[in-house]
């Protein structure tokens, strides 16, 4: 179970200065401005749920995921994942989650995929029998066989994301965070990723929180969506409800999302 209460995260960033003697001015006294990446959000995700987390670039999705996985400490508010506070009970929390960033790999760049998996086995202290069983299953479901012995830098993007997914699941986490897992992947590979994620969620009861820009991802995979804009939640509910609220049953999801973003842009 994931619970988030009044979660906030603000960053301080240096501001470039304009005008005459700008260099000198920013050298003598730099100016900062605050940016609220996440501005007071609340939600609860129950065990075994699969939730889509959507929003424009810079809406605060990645920041939320980073706080949920314990990389970032919140400025204010509460986070709890599987009964643990991510940034406090760090190691124990990490053993219970899996994270995949579609944009970057968590595998070792220059070594064969299998070596990466082996070192992760050691890091998470997965016992031999379980490791073998998982490896067999993921190799089968994700078709890892052909590139298990290849170094990660030689993999195509689709293969890399599959390898990353397997790596994130080797230690049987209860919760899975996926940050744009399908980005840049071709249609067929996307289809396979969706099937796999859905299966993991259904068969193993893994809780999944997934960010995406792909409307097909949402339609095919999730029943519930959370829409975030400028650090605040605009909508939290079923996909069905989203349709009803913004344009009727036959409305195109893409149009709906565009509509919501535009609306959010006005209020922000």
């Amino acid at each position: 179970m994931i619970t988030v209460k009044n979660l906030r995260k603000t960053y301080k960033i240096a501001k470039p200065q304009e005008g005459r003697f700008a260099t000198l001015k920013s050298l003598v006294r730099p100016r900062y401005e605050e940016r609220r990446a996440v501005d007071g959000i609340d939600f609860t995700i129950n065990d075994g749920e699969m939730v889509g987390y959507i929003g424009q670039n810079g809406a605060g999705k990645s920041t939320t995921i980073k706080m949920l996985s314990g990389i970032l400490v919140p400025t204010a508010g509460e986070v709890s994942v599987n009964g643990l506070t991510p940034h406090k009970d760090r190691r124990e929390h990490l053993r219970g989650i899996g994270v995949v960033f579609g944009q970057k790999t968590s595998l070792w760049w220059d070594v064969p995929v299998i070596d990466s998996l082996n070192i992760l086995k050691e890091m998470y202290r997965v016992d031999d029998a379980r490791f073998r069983k998982n490896l067999e299953m993921f190799t089968d479901l994700l078709d890892l066989g052909p590139f298990l012995e290849q170094p990660v830098r030689q993999l195509s993007l689709g293969q890399r994301v599959r390898a990353d997914l397997a790596a994130a699941l080797m230690h049987d986490p209860k919760t899975l965070f996926l940050d744009e897992p399908t980005i840049g992947v071709d249609v067929i590979a996307k289809e396979r990723l969706r099937e796999f994620i859905t299966e993991i969620n259904r068969e193993r009861g893994v809780t999944v929180l997934l960010t995406t820009h792909d409307v097909v991802d949402m339609e095919k995979m999730v029943k519930r969506v959370i829409v975030i804009n400028a650090g605040q939640i605009l909508y939290d509910g079923s996909m069905l409800g989203l349709r009803e609220r913004y344009g009727g049953e036959d409305a195109d999801i893409e149009d709906i999302v565009r509509e919501i973003y535009r609306e959010g842009g006005k209020t922000a």
Binding site: I71, L72, V99, Q103, S106, D110, D115, L120, M123, Y124
Partner: protein
């Protein structure tokens, strides 16, 4: 104790994997050897020209200068072979791989150190191994067991000092995201102490490289002690291991604070 053992085992496994990765770029190996030698070559050429023209630098004869340079290279190579990645925190943060370290239930420090080995650093070791005996035979100095014992102590402390300073500078990234300029300042300092006896740079500089950024303990003080130079009293030289330990303590503290800072800013 159990944790230390588990840590070492983890480090071993990481290194094994890293080596396998490196072996894939065999063609690079020879090219690296050549270029590292050429880079050191610039220093050697400068030293040779100076010694050919001037024969000495103050009370330091050519042989002394070779020992000085050799000591630096050996201590330094402990950093450049095994701990090189510690100086690259900025790159790790920019490329996003630092986040990945924080996602695994193993100390980020271990993942950082175990993730890289720079075999080209062995050129530095080799150079030192050649330079020191050459220098010693030129000055006609003979080392007994006592000197060899201290040589080992000096190299280990020097290595630790080099690693700690590089690591501390790299940790600055957590606060400014730009540690490269500071690292440049440090490079300028050690480029001076690497080849020349600290004495020629005057007392202020000497205080700087003894107390503040103790690079003089990589080679100057060891050389003074082992060659019996009058530039410093023996007890000051023998402080090397103490300084190494103090620095290691400071580095551990700063690293911990840096991590906490990263957690709150995300850089």
């Amino acid at each position: 104790m159990r944790e230390v053992k588990a840590g070492l085992k983890m480090y071993g496994s990481l290194l094994k994997m890293t080596m396998r990765g490196i072996l894939q770029y065999r063609a690079d190996f020879w090219m690296s050897l050549v270029s590292v030698s050429l880079l050191n070559g610039a220093n050697i050429v400068q030293l040779s020209v100076i010694s050919w023209r001037f024969h000495a630098l103050g009370s330091w004869q050519v042989g002394d200068l070779l020992v000085l340079y050799g000591l630096f290279m050996i201590s330094w190579s402990i950093f450049s072979v095994f701990f090189y990645r510690l100086s690259k925190i900025e790159d790790e943060i920019v490329s996003g791989s630092f986040d990945v370290y924080l996602l695994r239930p193993v100390s980020p420090f271990l993942q950082l150190v175990g993730g890289d080995i720079k075999y080209t650093g062995l050129c530095d070791t080799l150079l030192g191994v050649v330079l020191i005996p050459t220098g010693l035979s030129m000055t006609g100095t003979h080392w007994g067991l006592w000197q060899i014992f201290w040589f080992v102590i000096f190299v280990l402390s020097g290595g630790a000092i080099a690693v700690c300073i590089k690591f501390l500078i790299s940790c600055v990234t957590f606060w400014t995201t730009k540690a490269s300029a500071l690292s440049q300042v440090f490079i300028q300092i050690y480029l001076l102490t690497q080849k020349y006896p600290v004495t020629i740079f005057g007392p202020a500089f000497r205080v700087l490289v003894t107390g503040l950024v103790p690079v003089a303990y990589l080679n100057f003080y060891p050389a003074v002690y082992l060659l019996g130079k009058p530039d410093a009293p023996p007890w000051v030289c023998m402080l090397a291991p103490v300084i190494a330990m103090v620095l290691a303590g400071i580095a551990a503290l700063v690293w911990r604070r840096g991590l906490r800072r990263y957690n709150s800013s995300g850089a």
